[in-house]
Structures are given as structure tokens and as C-alpha cells.
């Protein structure tokens, strides 16, 4: 779709390889994609032109970043009805279709749309890869990754690194820690350590809301 109606600063969004972690840290295994990305960022650096992005639960705001890249690697929690913790890799045309098969969270609806809209607008990437992990627990607000899912992060990152070597992203193991990718207050250790008790946070059902019905 050219010429584009507006392109004052498309350069801001451009990179040749985008590594995108998506999900909601506040809903237990929903945070898989972002936590995996954090770990990748903590241990590895890449050549210029490779961008790591915590996409959170943003929907269409991610569109310019998607359209600005040639190779896209997505880390996300995805439900395809396999045993919890199972990793699933999907490539290229299968990715948006796959993400649309069964949605368990609303942000995926959003993200599947973003990929489809990008394609409709003429985005034609060289490669797209999704590394998905089957979640164990989702409905635990304020919870962290389950042990099952957390244990799969190293393997997910090995899969990611294999592909990134092939994409000539030049991963290099870091010798000194990098600047944080996400907010300090959301760092895994702090997030887990500061979680209030179920009683204090009224996670057992809050009588103020449900009245006598709880």
C-alpha cells in the first residue's frame, strides 16, 4: 500500500529483526513471553538492527514496530490444548492463523489482529517465528509463572537463539548486566517476593463486592 498517507518518522520504528515478548505479567503464566524476553535480554546482546521489545498487552500500538521489521520472533503463552509447559514453534504464514485458533486472553485477540492488519496493509516479512508455551495457570491475579512454565524458559531461549543465529542477529553472551528492559518494580524476584498474602489481597473472594453471596 504505497505511497503511505503519512510517513514523517517511520524511521523511529525500523529495525531488521524484532524480538517481541507479549503477555500480561499480572496473570501468572500469561507473563511467559515477557519473562522469557527479559531473560534473553539479561544474558545476551545482539548486533545493531536487532530490537528487543516488551509488547505487554498493547494491541495496535505495536503495528508500526511490526511493519518496521523484516524478521519477527514472538515469545508468548499460547493455548493449543497440550500438556502444560509444552513448547510449540510455528513459522511464517501459520503464525497469525495459529494465534487465532483458540484464544485464552484478550490481548491475543488484539495481537492476532495486529499481525493480520499488517499483512493486509502489505507487510511482507522475510521470516516470522512464534515460540509459544502452553500455560498451566492463568487465573491467579498477581501470581508469577508456574514452576512448570518457568522451567521451560531456557529451552525456549535455546530455540530462539538457534533461529537468531540463522537470522545473523549475532547473539553474544553478556559479561556485564544490561540496563533493565522493564520497570524495576516488575522484576521477577521483586514481583514474587512482594506479593501480599491471599487474605490480605482478598484473593479468596471479596465480601465487599459479593456481599452475602460470596
Amino acid at each position: 500500500m504505497k505511497p503511505r498517507a503519512m510517513s514523517t518518522s517511520d524511521l523511529d520504528y525500523r529495525c531488521d529483526t524484532l524480538i517481541l515478548g507479549i503477555g500480561n505479567l499480572l496473570w501468572a503464566d500469561e507473563g511467559f513471553g515477557v519473562r522469557a524476553l527479559e531473560k534473553l535480554h539479561a544474558d545476551w546482546s545482539f548486533r545493531p538492527g536487532v530490537r528487543l521489545l516488551d509488547g505487554g498487552t498493547q494491541g495496535l500500538y505495536l503495528l508500526p514496530y511490526i511493519e518496521g521489521c523484516r524478521k519477527l520472533l514472538i515469545l508468548d503463552a499460547v493455548d493449543y490444548g497440550l500438556p502444560p509447559g509444552t513448547l510449540k514453534v510455528v513459522r511464517d504464514e501459520e503464525v497469525p492463523r495459529f494465534m487465532g485458533v483458540k484464544k485464552m486472553s484478550l490481548h491475543q485477540t488484539g495481537f492476532q489482529e495486529v499481525l493480520s492488519v499488517a499483512q493486509l496493509r502489505g507487510w511482507n516479512p522475510d521470516s516470522v517465528m512464534l515460540i509459544g508455551c502452553q500455560p498451566e495457570t492463568l487465573d491467579d491475579y498477581g501470581g508469577s509463572l508456574s514452576d512448570t512454565v518457568k522451567a521451560r524458559i531456557p529451552e525456549a531461549l535455546n530455540l530462539a537463539l538457534d533461529t537468531l543465529y540463522g537470522w545473523l542477529a549475532k547473539p553474544l553472551r553478556r559479561t556485564t548486566p544490561p540496563a533493565d528492559l522493564t520497570l524495576d518494580s516488575l522484576a521477577l524476584e521483586l514481583y514474587e517476593a512482594e506479593r501480599p498474602s491471599a487474605e490480605m489481597a482478598c484473593r479468596m473472594g471479596d465480601g465487599r463486592f459479593l456481599g452475602g453471596a460470596a
Partner: protein
């Protein structure tokens, strides 16, 4: 409840009941139940807010200078408008005056939100209620090009351009991926556009995405980020330094020029694409006159966009202010947000409870004295359980939204309310565009009181707002060139300068309508805080007199083409741009069905 009459509507809940839940996808906090008569015409409507907000409770005891950052998080879409309302409330309470530059920048921020919100709403959230995507596949690209060129000089209009997009769409649909267009009610007889108009609209849907990403850059420049830009009690948190020495990150000429450029490009898109699309779509739905609801009866606007700083009188506000009641267009009433007898909130049918002597039927509280105590109980005729409601009983409590009333009247707020008030006040900036649209479509004034009228007013307002952005950007640059770089007044920043007790009110016109925050400050801390948001007005449940809210009224007497496809219900509710809602089309958690529609 049986049958009764209120506000000119005959309510009858004896017919077949339809439940639509959620009405919205991304936020999913709204539910609607209607009763149909034997001809599938809506004879009763019940709107339920299904989420507790509770921000008022969180704010108690906090520093009033921080309130904006909390209230801003009420919504991720109208980001910023709650923050502006909040800083105005605190400034009102403490008698803080802001510099002219801060007023101009705040207005540009607020107008940016209006434009962004209206544009995104029209193309990405509401258009698919009118536009049949699948029908676009059978369009003739050459005829589409002729159609586009007949209504606008927008350059992207060649047959090849439309063919290209149609081919991509075709490939998409053939591969079974409807993507953003999945699960629409495609082919429903309530869609009226010819294939060419559908193809043109789908194409502009894709183009509009470029604009939404550009416009929000204005928030990132003046407010540091988007969504949820930064604000400041006493002004704005961005320094101006056009000489580019001594201040890192300050607003310089390059940044001001970038904003200017974005404004100009947005004016082009709105006036050459949005408005012509709106008129083209409307011309095919002239017979669909439903959805007016309270618009022809009771509407209200607080007004907004002060021309000069610190003057919130109607004469200085560029957006109209006032109230119309009982359909009497000959009189616009003064609205006073401080008068305890004017704006009151009732909880007879809301899941709240007032304390002590206030816990009485038909008791309304002014927001300064407002209470936010949850009290969840279903009416005795509700079906299902308290955590899995099958059917609401509107005779009892049935919503997390309170019922605000102005002098006892349920009111509609929003772009249509603003345009009706501006129109009857003979304000040429509002009256002339309405007259032009009506003439072009060959429609009488009452046609404005409809779903389509609401959608049209939003488009006209987007154009009005983007031109006002130009005005304030020019005003800002002129003021800076005249040597005034001040953006904040921090004389009363320190709480030691505050009185022991103070109260204030701040208001704005959010994209969705009149928004007010009421604050009481005691010994430097928030003692009470109440937000009455546009969707509280529009989404209001019944009150003790049985008066219905604007959403409910708007659905009354609408015929449905198919009872199990609530396209008409969604179309009308989406025309309000409900804040509970973020999206046009609804997806259940399994992604397969569009919305949970149950027919009983």
C-alpha cells in the same frame, strides 16, 4: 416491573428476552438485555456495567497532587482526560492559576485526544457496524475509484490502488483468515452499503492506522509518553527552551514544528477522508432513523477548551456549555457543578449503598458528599446465581454504574449533546456544519436525534477539534516568540501554603462527554474524591422513579433484522463510544463466537 411509561417511552418487559454479554471485547464490562415484541422490536432495555471501578476508594488519604496519575488509569483509551480533570479540580480547590502556555498545551493535548479517539472510534471500532467487509470483495475497483474521486480530492484513489487492497483482502478471506474482520455479521440485511462503498471504507480503515500512530506523538512530546502522558498541578510538566541551550529534553523549535506538521496532515485526512466517508456512509442509512433515545429530550455539556487560561465561564469556553431538558430546544439551562441540588447520584438500582440517613429510597448525593460503598445484591426476580447471572432483574439493583441526574433528569452527554447545545445557542462553529450535513443529505433537523446523528456529530467534532489544535499551536508559538516560556506556576506547590480544608471541582468534555471530578482536601490529603464520568451519565441504570438512562433509551423501539444477531444493538451502543467498551466486535474467550447472545 411489568409495563410502564417514562420519558416518553413505553417499557414492556413481557416479550422474548435477549442477552448480549459482553457488548465489548477488549474491556468487556458491559451487558445489555432487551425484550422484543412479536415483530422483533425492542420494547425494554436494561444496561449493566459489570465492573467495579473503585478508584474513589483508592484515592482517599493520598496527596492531591498525585490524584491525576491514578485517575488517568481509569481508562486506557481516553488517556489524559481524567488527568486534566483532576489537576483542574485540585487547582480549583487551592486557587492555583496556570500560565497561558500551559493552557494552550493542555488544550492541544485534550483536542489531540478528541481527534485520536474520534478517528479510531469511527474507523476501527464503529465502521464495521455499517460496513460489510465481505461485500467489498465483489466491488468493481474502477467504480470504487470513481466513487472516491466524486466525494474527495484525497490522492489515494486510483483503480489500481483499490484493486491492490481488494486482492489482498481476497487472499486473506480465501485463506480463512478474516483477522480483524473475523466474526462479523457479514451478509446481515441491516448492512446497506453497495460493494464499492464497502471497499472504499475498508481501504480507509487501513489508512487511518497511520494517523492514529502519528497523532499520539503530540502526547509523547508535550506529555512525555502515550498512553497516559504526564500532567502537573499548576501547569504542564514540559519546559520550553527554543534556544536549545541549557535544557535537555525541553520543547524546542524542532519539536514545535513536528507537532505543527502532524496537525496539518491530520487536518487533511479528517477533512478529505473522514468527513467524506461519513457522508457517503450516512447517505445509505438515511432510512435507519433509530437510536435517538434521550438525544431529542435531555442533553448536557459542561463545556471545555478555555480560550484564555483560568477562565471557566461559558463565554470563554470554546465547546458549548448548558443543558436542554424535556425536548425544549428553546431554552438552554445553566449548569452549575457546585450547586448541591443540580448534579446528584442515585444508587437505588446500583450495586452501592449509602450510609446512615442517606440510605433511603430515592436519595441522591452531590458528588462532594458522594459515597462509594459497594453493595452487591440481585433483584428477587433475577435468574441464575450471583456469580453467573442468567437474567438481570431491573426491578432491583443491577449495575456497577450509579445513576447521575441533573435536577432529577437523566441526561445524554457526548459529541451529539455538544452539537445540539451549540446548535440551539446559534454558535456558528457548531450550527453551520450541522446545517451543511443536513442539507447535503436532504434531511430535517430531527434526523440528528439518532444513532447516525451521534456518529455524524463525532466526525464533525473531530474536524472542529483538529482546526482548534492549529489555533492553539499558533497561539503557543506566538506567545513563546513574544518571550513567555513559562509552563508552570509552582507558588502553591508546597502543601504548607494550602488551607486546612478545601474543596474543588474540575471538568472537561471528554471524547465521550461531560466529565467531572469533585475533590475535598483536608490537611494536605484527599478526604473525598468522586468522578462522574460520561459513561456514568450515558450508561446510567434506572432511578427510583423508573427513569431510564441514555443507553437504555437509545435502544427503545428499534426493530431487529435478526433476533440472534444483535447488530442493531451494537451499532447504537457503539455510537456512544461507551467507555466500558473498546471495540466494535465481540469475541468470547474461545474466539469462536462474536458475543454471547442468548434468546429466551
Amino acid at each position: 416491573m411489568g409495563a410502564y411509561e417514562t420519558q416518553g417511552f413505553k417499557l414492556d418487559n413481557s416479550g422474548k428476552r435477549i442477552v448480549v454479554d459482553p457488548v465489548t471485547r477488549i474491556e468487556g464490562h458491559m451487558r445489555v438485555e432487551v425484550n422484543l415484541d412479536t415483530n422483533n422490536v425492542i420494547r425494554n432495555a436494561v444496561s449493566t456495567g459489570t465492573m467495579w471501578r473503585g478508584l474513589e476508594v483508592i484515592l482517599k488519604g493520598r496527596d492531591p497532587r498525585d490524584a491525576w496519575a491514578f485517575t488517568e488509569r481509569i481508562c486506557g483509551v481516553c488517556t489524559g482526560t481524567h488527568a486534566l480533570t483532576s489537576v483542574r479540580a485540585v487547582e480549583d480547590a487551592l486557587g492555583i492559576l496556570i500560565p497561558e502556555n500551559a493552557n494552550s498545551i493542555r488544550n492541544i493535548m485534550q483536542l489531540t485526544l478528541q481527534v485520536h479517539d474520534h478517528l479510531v472510534h469511527f474507523y476501527h471500532l464503529h465502521a464495521l457496524d455499517w460496513v460489510d467487509v465481505v461485500s467489498a470483495l465483489s466491488a468493481d475497483p474502477k467504480k470504487t475509484s470513481e466513487l472516491a474521486q466524486s466525494i474527495s480530492s484525497w490522492p489515494l484513489s486510483s483503480p489500481g490502488y483499490f484493486r491492490d487492497i481488494q486482492n489482498r483482502l481476497k487472499k486473506f478471506v480465501e485463506s480463512g483468515q478474516l483477522g480483524p474482520f473475523m466474526n462479523g455479521y457479514w451478509g446481515n440485511p441491516a448492512y446497506k452499503l453497495p460493494p464499492e462503498a464497502n471497499l472504499m471504507a475498508v481501504t480507509h480503515y487501513l489508512e487511518a492506522l497511520d494517523f492514529q500512530k502519528e497523532i499520539v506523538k503530540i502526547h509523547t512530546i508535550y506529555g512525555g509518553k502515550n498512553p497516559h502522558p504526564n500532567w502537573l498541578v499548576g501547569g504542564v510538566p514540559c519546559a520550553i527552551n527554543v534556544h536549545e541551550t541549557g535544557a535537555v529534553g525541553a520543547i524546542n523549535m524542532e519539536r514545535l514544528n513536528l507537532i505543527s506538521h502532524i496537525i496539518d496532515r491530520t487536518i487533511e485526512f479528517i477533512d478529505q477522508v473522514y468527513i467524506p466517508d461519513l457522508l457517503a456512509i450516512a447517505s445509505f442509512y438515511k432510512d435507519w432513523t433509530y437510536g435517538g433515545g434521550l438525544a431529542s429530550k435531555s442533553v448536557m455539556s459542561y463545556g471545555d477548551i478555555p480560550d484564555k487560561a483560568n477562565d471557566y465561564s461559558a463565554a470563554n469556553l470554546m465547546m458549548p456549555r448548558g443543558a436542554i431538558i424535556n425536548g425544549d430546544l428553546s431554552k438552554v439551562h445553566e449548569v452549575d457543578l457546585r450547586d448541591p441540588s443540580q448534579i446528584q447520584e442515585f444508587v437505588d438500582h446500583s450495586w452501592f449503598k449509602y450510609a446512615g440517613a442517606n440510605d433511603a429510597a430515592g436519595k441522591g448525593l452531590h458528588p462532594w458528599d458522594g459515597e462509594t460503598v459497594a453493595h452487591y445484591e440481585l433483584g428477587k426476580n433475577a435468574k441464575g446465581t450471583s456469580t453467573n447471572i442468567e437474567q438481570i432483574d431491573e426491578g432491583g439493583k443491577y449495575s456497577w454504574i450509579k445513576a447521575p441526574r441533573w435536577k432529577g433528569h437523566a441526561m445524554e452527554v457526548g459529541p451529539l449533546a455538544r452539537y445540539i447545545i451549540g446548535y440551539v445557542q446559534n454558535n456558528p462553529e457548531f450550527k453551520e456544519p450541522v446545517d451543511r450535513v443536513l442539507k447535503k443529505l436532504d434531511l430535517p433537523l430531527p434526523a440528528l436525534f439518532s444513532t447516525l446523528g451521534r456518529t455524524a456529530a463525532r466526525g464533525l467534532e473531530a474536524s472542529w477539534a483538529v482546526h482548534k489544535m492549529r489555533y492553539f499551536q499558533d497561539k503557543l508559538v506566538a506567545n513563546i516568540k513574544a518571550g513567555d516560556a513559562s509552563t508552570a506556576n509552582i507558588e502553591k506547590w508546597d502543601p504548607s501554603t494550602w488551607p486546612k480544608e478545601a474543596k474543588g471541582v474540575g471538568f472537561t468534555e471528554a471524547p465521550r462527554g461531560a466529565l467531572g471530578h469533585w475533590i475535598k482536601i483536608k490537611e494536605g490529603r484527599i478526604d473525598n474524591y468522586q468522578c462522574v464520568v460520561p459513561t456514568t451519565w450515558n450508561g446510567s441504570p434506572r432511578d427510583s422513579k423508573g427513569q431510564i438512562g441514555a443507553f437504555e433509551a437509545s435502544l427503545m423501539n428499534t426493530p431487529m433484522a435478526k433476533a440472534d444477531q444483535p447488530l442493531e444493538i451494537l451499532r447504537t451502543l457503539h455510537s456512544f463510544d461507551p467507555c466500558l467498551a473498546c471495540s466494535t466486535h465481540v469475541m468470547a474467550p474461545d474466539g469462536q463466537e462474536m458475543t454471547r447472545v442468548r434468546v429466551r
